[in-house]
C-alpha cells in the first residue's frame, strides 16, 4: 500500500516533469513592441546636403536669399516626397548646409572636372556645387559624379515644369530583384548549340577578373558573390526559332540569306530546363545564372526581336530573379571560336547591367531623366571600374538596411506567433539565445541609423536577419 503511494507521490511529478515540453522563455513583449513600432513611423534615414554656391551666382543675384533657400528646399522636399510616397514606415529627414564657394573658377576652366573637388564624405552626406552659366547654350547642365557630389551649372530659364517623378517601377523592381542573401552564387555558362559545327571556348577567368571583380568587391559590403563558370555542349533549344529573309540594312557575316529570330512570347521557353544543367549543388545560396548562348549552325544567326519586330542590338534578355541570357553569333569559318576577353567585354557589360538589376541597384539615369524637363542636360560620371557609383551603392545600402530591419521584425514576430499558436513546439535554449542576439543587433542597427552610421547599421541589420532566420529555421523547432 505504501509503495503505491510512494510511486504516486514521487512518480507523478516525475512523469509530469519528464514529459513536459521544454520551452525556453522568449522575449515576447519585446518582439511585440518592435512589431508595433514597425507600423508606426520608425526607420529614419537622415540625409545631409551641402550646397556650395559659387560666389559669382550670389553676386549676380542680390536677393538670392540663402537663409530662405534651405527652408524652402526642406519644405518642398517634404511636400514632394509625401506626394510620391505613401508608405509611412520609412522617413527621410533632410538637412541643408549652404556654403559660399570661392574656388569655382578652377573647376569651370577644367570643364567640369569633378576630380578637383575633394569632397570626402560618407553615406548620407552629399555635396552640390552650384556654378554660374557660361551663356553659350542656354541649357542648364547637371553633372552627377561617381562620388557623392554633383555640379549644377545654372542658366536663366524662362519657365520650368515640375513633374513629380513617379514610382511606377517599384513593383517591377521588386519582381526582378533577388531577396536579400548574404551570399549569391553567380554562374556564367557558355552554352554551345552544336559542337559538331563549331567548338567554343572563352577566356572567362580573365574577363571576370578584369570587369566583374571590382563590382564584386564593391558590393561585398552588402552581399558576397561566388563566381563560377562552365561550358556546355549540345545545348538544344526546345523549339524551332522563326526564320526570315534578310533585310538589306542589317549586315551579317553569314552567307545565308535568312536569319532566325525569337519573339518575346517564345523567350520564356528559351531555357531548356530539362536538359541544361544549370543548378549548382555547391551551396544552398541563391543562384544567378548568366548564359552566353551560341546557336547551332542550323539556327544561325539567331536574334531577338521585340514586339515591334525590331532586332534588339544587345541580343539579350533578363529573367527576373533568375539571371540573364546573351545570344552571340560568332564567326564560324574556322570551326573553332575562342571568345577573347576583348570580345567578352560587351557581353560582360550586358551581364553587369542585368546583374545590377537582379541585385537591386537602381539605374539612376532612368530616374533622373524622368524627373527633369528637356531644358536640362544631365550627365553622369561613370564609376571608377566598379560598375556602381557611390550614389547607387548608398541607396542600395539604405534599402537593404530597411529591408533587413523589417524582415527581422517580421521573422521574430512570426516565430513568437508560431510558438504561441502551436503549443507542442519545443523551444530550446539556443533558440532563446539567437532571438536575444537578433534583438540586440536590431537595436544596435537602429541606434547606428540614428547616428547616421549607415555602414555599421547595415552590418548590424545583416547580423539581425541572419540570427532571426537561424532561430526560425532551426531544425529543433518542430511540432
Amino acid at each position: 500500500m505504501l509503495s503505491i503511494w510512494v510511486i504516486i507521490i514521487i512518480g507523478l511529478p516525475l512523469w509530469w516533469k519528464t514529459t513536459e515540453i521544454y520551452r525556453a522563455q522568449l522575449p515576447f513583449a519585446e518582439i511585440e513592441e518592435w512589431s508595433k513600432k514597425r507600423e508606426r513611423l520608425d526607420i529614419k534615414f537622415s540625409t545631409h546636403f551641402t550646397l556650395f554656391i559659387a560666389t559669382n551666382v550670389l553676386e549676380e543675384n542680390n536677393n538670392f536669399n540663402l537663409k530662405n533657400l534651405d527652408i524652402r528646399l526642406k519644405e518642398s522636399i517634404a511636400s514632394k516626397y509625401n506626394l510620391i510616397n505613401n508608405s509611412k514606415s520609412v522617413q527621410f529627414p533632410v538637412k541643408f548646409k549652404i556654403k559660399e564657394w570661392n574656388e569655382w573658377k578652377d573647376v569651370l576652366k577644367e570643364d567640369f572636372n569633378l576630380g578637383q573637388l575633394n569632397f570626402t564624405s560618407k553615406n548620407g552626406k552629399y555635396a552640390f556645387y552650384i556654378l554660374p552659366g557660361n551663356n553659350e547654350n542656354k541649357k542648364t547642365k547637371v553633372l552627377v559624379g561617381n562620388q557623392r557630389q554633383a555640379i549644377v551649372q545654372i542658366e536663366q530659364i524662362e519657365h520650368w515644369n515640375l513633374e513629380p517623378s513617379t514610382e511606377a517601377n517599384v513593383e517591377l523592381d521588386s519582381m526582378r530583384t533577388m531577396k536579400y542573401s548574404p551570399m549569391y552564387q553567380v554562374t556564367f555558362s557558355l552554352m554551345n548549340g552544336d559542337p559538331s559545327s563549331l567548338l567554343v571556348n572563352w577566356d572567362i577567368d580573365q574577363t571576370v577578373n578584369k570587369y566583374l571583380k571590382p563590382f564584386v568587391d564593391k558590393i561585398s559590403v552588402i552581399s558576397n558573390l561566388i563566381v563560377e563558370s562552365q561550358i556546355q555542349h549540345y545545348a538544344r533549344l526546345t523549339f524551332e526559332p522563326q526564320q526570315k529573309k534578310i533585310i538589306e540594312n542589317i549586315n551579317y557575316n553569314n552567307d545565308n540569306d535568312k536569319y532566325f529570330y525569337l519573339t518575346p512570347d517564345l523567350l520564356p521557353h528559351f531555357i531548356n530546363a530539362a536538359e541544361w544543367k544549370l543548378a549548382s549543388a555547391v551551396s544552398s545560396y541563391p543562384t544567378l545564372n548568366f548564359i552566353l548562348y551560341v546557336p547551332s549552325l542550323e539556327q544561325s544567326p539567331l536574334y531577338i526581336q521585340d514586339s515591334k519586330e525590331n532586332i534588339i542590338k544587345n541580343n539579350a534578355f533578363l529573367i527576373p530573379r533568375w539571371g540573364g541570357v546573351v545570344i552571340n553569333n560568332p564567326d564560324r569559318s574556322t570551326g573553332i571560336h575562342n571568345f577573347t576577353s576583348e570580345e567578352l567585354k560587351s557581353v560582360m557589360s550586358i551581364f553587369i547591367m542585368q546583374l545590377r538589376g537582379l541585385l537591386g541597384v537602381q539605374d539612376f539615369w532612368v530616374k533622373a531623366g524622368s524627373g527633369l524637363d528637356s531644358s536640362v542636360t544631365i550627365e553622369f560620371t561613370s564609376p571608377q571600374n566598379t560598375a556602381i557609383t557611390m550614389w547607387e551603392l548608398d541607396s542600395l545600402v539604405r534599402r537593404r538596411i530597411a529591408e533587413n530591419i523589417v524582415a527581422t521584425i517580421l521573422t521574430l514576430k512570426s516565430l513568437s506567433q508560431l510558438v504561441a499558436e502551436i503549443p507542442n513546439m519545443v523551444v530550446l535554449d539556443h533558440i532563446q539565445t539567437e532571438v536575444l542576439l537578433a534583438l540586440d543587433s536590431l537595436k544596435k542597427s537602429c541606434t547606428s541609423l540614428q547616428e547616421e552610421q549607415y555602414e555599421i547599421a547595415l552590418q548590424h541589420a545583416k547580423k539581425a536577419i541572419e540570427r532571426a532566420e537561424s532561430a526560425f529555421f532551426d531544425p529543433t523547432m518542430r511540432n
Binding site: 547637371v142 570587369y211 531623366g369 560598375a387 541607396s395 524582415a407 526560425f472
Partner: protein, 350 residues
C-alpha cells in the same frame, strides 16, 4: 525681372530636389503588390511530389507520382525545383517483370522511370517529419540543395500527394500518418516566412477532400479526388505487371495535362471542369476560398509548368576600365543619354 529671379530660384530648387530624390530611393519590402509584369505575380515554380505508400501492390501510387513528375518536367520545371519523394522503389522490386521500369498504362507506351529521374527522398526517408521539414525549410544544416525547398515570396508551389488515407489523415509508409492539421500548420509556417506566393495542393487518396479542410493560410488552392466517405479508385490494372498501374483521379488529370504544352493558355478552371465524377468514380473537390485570383484567370502552367517572365535588355553597362589608362577613362566615358532613352523605350516586358 522679379519673375525671372523667382523662376531661376525655383528652377535651381527643382534640380536640387530631383537630385535629392535620387538619393532617397528606399523601399520597404513588406507589402506584396500585384503587377502587370507577370500574369500571376510569380517568378519561379516549385513542385513537391509525394508518394507515401510502400510495397509492391501500391505500384500505382508510385506511377501516379512519377507521371506528375514527368508532366511538370515536360512543362518546364527543372529538376532543381522539384522535390520528388517516393516511399518505395517498385522499379527494382523483384516482382517487377519489367525490371527498372515503371509504367502508368497497360499499353506500356511510356517508361516513367527512363533516364533523368531524380528522386530526392527515397524509401524510408519519406516520413511525415521530412515532409514537414521540406515544406517549412527547417532542415539540418548539412542537407544538400536538392533536398531543400528553396522557394521565396514569388514562388508558385505545386504540392501533389498520393497514398492511402482516411478522414483527415494520410498514411506514410504504413507506419505513421500526417493529419490535416499538421498540413495546415505547415502551410501556415510557410506563409509566415513568405515561402510561397501561391500553392496548388492536389491529393489523390481515399476521402482526399478532408485533407485540405483545415488549411487556413491565404493563396492556397486545393483539389482532391474524393469527398468524405468516398474511396478513391484505381483506373485499370496491367495483367503482366499484376497490379493496378494508375489511380482514376490522377489518370483524368493527366489526360487533360497531356494536351497542354508550355505555350498553352488553358486555365485551372478548364482543368477542374474536366473532372467527371462518373468516370472518376468519386467526387473531386476544389477549395478556392483562400485563393484570391479567379480560377479562369489562372493558367495551368502557373503551377504545372515554369513560364518565366522576360525583360529584354536594351542597355549595356559602360565598362570604362582597361588595364592601363584607368585615370583617363574616369571622366570621359559617360552614358549617351540619347541611346539610353532609346533603349529604355525598347525595353519590353512579357
Amino acid at each position: 525681372m522679379l519673375f525671372l529671379k523667382y523662376s531661376q530660384h525655383s528652377f535651381l530648387q527643382h534640380i536640387i530636389i530631383c537630385l535629392i530624390l535620387l538619393t532617397l530611393v528606399v523601399r520597404s519590402d513588406n507589402e506584396t503588390v500585384d503587377g502587370f509584369f507577370s500574369r500571376g505575380g510569380h517568378t519561379n515554380n516549385w513542385a513537391v511530389l509525394v508518394c507515401t505508400s510502400r510495397f509492391w501492390f501500391n505500384y500505382r501510387h508510385i506511377a501516379n507520382t512519377l507521371s506528375m513528375y514527368r508532366t511538370v518536367k515536360r512543362l518546364g520545371i527543372p529538376d532543381s525545383n522539384i522535390i520528388l519523394m517516393l516511399a518505395d522503389d517498385v522499379a527494382c522490386n523483384p516482382r517487377n517483370v519489367f525490371p527498372a521500369t515503371v509504367f502508368n498504362n497497360a499499353g506500356r507506351y511510356l517508361d516513367l522511370y527512363g533516364d533523368n529521374v531524380e528522386v530526392d527522398y527515397r524509401g524510408y526517408e519519406v516520413t511525415v517529419e521530412n515532409f514537414i521539414r521540406v515544406l517549412t525549410g527547417r532542415v539540418e544544416p548539412d542537407t544538400p540543395r536538392s533536398k531543400r525547398l528553396l522557394s521565396d515570396d514569388r514562388s508558385n508551389i505545386l504540392v501533389y500527394m498520393t497514398g492511402h488515407g482516411g478522414n483527415e489523415f494520410l498514411k506514410f509508409q504504413d507506419a505513421e500518418e500526417i493529419s490535416s492539421f499538421d498540413l495546415a500548420d505547415a502551410f501556415e509556417q510557410m506563409w509566415e516566412k513568405r515561402r510561397y506566393h501561391e500553392v496548388l495542393f492536389m491529393i489523390d487518396t481515399c476521402q482526399a477532400n478532408t485533407m485540405y479542410s483545415q488549411i487556413y493560410s491565404p493563396n492556397i488552392l486545393a483539389t482532391g479526388s474524393s469527398k468524405l466517405g468516398e474511396n478513391s479508385y484505381s483506373h485499370h490494372m496491367d495483367s503482366d505487371i499484376g497490379v493496378a498501374v494508375i489511380d482514376r483521379f490522377t489518370y483524368y488529370n493527366l489526360e487533360f495535362l497531356e494536351r497542354i504544352d508550355m505555350q498553352s493558355k488553358a486555365t485551372l478552371q478548364d482543368l477542374f471542369n474536366s473532372y467527371n465524377p462518373t468516370l472518376i468514380h468519386s467526387t473531386p473537390g476544389v477549395r478556392s476560398d483562400l485563393f484570391r485570383r479567379p480560377l479562369d484567370k489562372v493558367s495551368v502552367t502557373d503551377f504545372f509548368g515554369s513560364v518565366q517572365n522576360v525583360e529584354l535588355t536594351g542597355q549595356q553597362y559602360n565598362l570604362s576600365n582597361s588595364d592601363i589608362d584607368i585615370e583617363d577613362s574616369i571622366y570621359s566615358s559617360t552614358l549617351n543619354m540619347m541611346d539610353v532613352k532609346e533603349n529604355i523605350d525598347n525595353r519590353y516586358k512579357v
